[in-house]
Amino acid sequence: MQALASNPGTLSNDEIRRYSRHIIMPEVGIEGQRLLKSSSILLIGTGGLGSPLALYLAAAGVGRIGLVDYDVVDESNLQRQIIHGQSTLGTSKLESAAARIRDINPFTQIDTYNEPVTSANALRLMEPYDVIIDGTDNFPTRYLVNDACVKLGKPNVYGSIFRFEGQLSVFYATEGPCYRCMFPEPPPPGLVPSCAEGGVLGILPGTIGTLQATEGIKLLLGIGEPMIGRMLLYDALEMTFTTIRVRRDTACPVCSIPPEQVELIDYEQFCGMPAHDRSTFGQENGHLEAEHAVEEISATALKERLDNGDDLIVLDVRNPIEWEIAALDDTLRIPKPQIEAAMNDVLAGVRSREETVLAQIPEDREIVLHCRTGIRSADSIAFLKRLGYKNKLLILDGGIHAWSREIDPSLPIY
C-alpha cells in the first residue's frame, strides 16, 4: 500500500532528537518521520479508545490530530480513559485531552470539535484528515462513520470493546470491505446488551486503542500489512488473539455503489436507538415512547409513601452483583433477565406463570419497580403488561441513583 501522508515537511534538530527511536528504523527513517509530521488523523471520541490513541499518535509525531467529543470528564471515566485525570474532572474532554497532548508533544497540532458527529457535519469533520479512527461507543455513530468514510474514500480504523473482548479492523472501501460488509445491520435495540450485561475491563480499550494507533501509523507510512479484509478478535480472559477474514459484500448497499452516490442517512432511525445522550431520538418516536411511557414516582414521593405505610411493593430488577453495591431495604428482588425469560416461557406456553419467578410478583397490589437509572424497570413493566398485569405499576424515576441523591447519600452511585 502507498503511504497516505504526502508533502513531507522538514524536521528540526529538536524533532530529530525526539523521534530518534523511530528514525533509526529503516521502515520509518527520516522520510517516514517527515511523512508523519505532514499527516493527519481524526479521532472520533476521546474516551476509552481515544485516550491511548491520542497519547500514542501524538507521541509518535503525527503532525495534526483532530479530536471530536462533546462530553465532560467524569469520575467514572478514569477507570479507563487515561488521557484524563483527577485534575480535569468536570472540564471538557477536549480541553483535558488537548492539554495532555500538548504536554506530550508540543509539535503536534490539535484541532478540537466540540460536537457530536452527525450526518450533517460528518463529511465536513472528516474531509481534512488522512485517516479516521473510530473510537465511539454506539451503533448509530459506527454506521455513520463507516458510510462517511466510504463516501470520502478514507480508511476507517475500527476498534470496538465489550467486557473482556475487543475487535480491530481497517475498513477501507477503496481497498477492501467496509463495516457494513461484515455487519450489514445493527442488532435491534432490544437485543443490544443492556447495562446489566455491560461494563468493560479498564485496560481493554488500552489494548485495542494502541492496536488502532498502530494501524493508523502503518496506513500513514504505507508499511506492513494493514488489517484490511481481516478482523482481530481479542479475548483478555483467555489471552487469545484470533484473526478472521472479512470479505467484501458485492451487494453491500454502501460500498458496492459509486462513492458519490452514498447518502448519509438518519442513523438513529436506522439503528432504532439514540447515538448520544444529548440526542432527542425517541422523544418523537411513537414506538419507543409507547414502550417506555410508564408512570413514574420520584424518590422523595416514594419515601413519603413508604413512611406512611402505604400498601405497595418495591421490586428491584437489577442483577445480584448490583445489590451488593447498593440496595434499598425490604425490596422484592428479581433480575430483569429472569422476568424476561419467565415472560418468554409463559407466552410460549412452556411453563405456567406459577412455575416461574412471576409467581412472586402479585397481580393485585401496587408495585414500584426500580433499577439503576430507570431503563430496566421500564422494560420490566412492559414485560408485565404483556403478561396481562393490570395492577398499578410505576418506576422509581432515576432509579437507585435518584434515591441516593434525594434520600440516602450513603448509597454509592455506580
Partner: protein
Amino acid sequence: MVTIRIPSPLRAYTGEQAVVEVDGTTIGAALEDLTARYPELRQHLYEGQQLRNFVNVFLGEEDIRFLDGLDTGLDAGDSLRIIPSIAGGRPECESAPSLRQE
C-alpha cells in the same frame, strides 16, 4: 462433536459458558443443537428459520455466508465461532435516559 465459541454478550444465555460442545454434521444442525440446549439463545440468533442478519458465524476464519451457509458440512472437532456486533463501552441504559425526558 464440534465446539461453538460464544461471545460475551450472549453468554448470559449459555450459563456463562464461553465454549459449548454440540453435535451436528452441518452448521445448521450444530446451531439447532446449541439452541435446543439453550433455548433463550434462539431469539438472539434466529428470525424464524433464518439466522439474523447481524449474527456472524465463522467456521475457522471463514464467514459461513461465503461457504454454504447453514448447509456447510462439519467434521468432528471443527470450531465454530459467533462474532458479535459490539459498539463499544456505552450500554443501552447509559444512552437511553434521553428517551424518557418527556
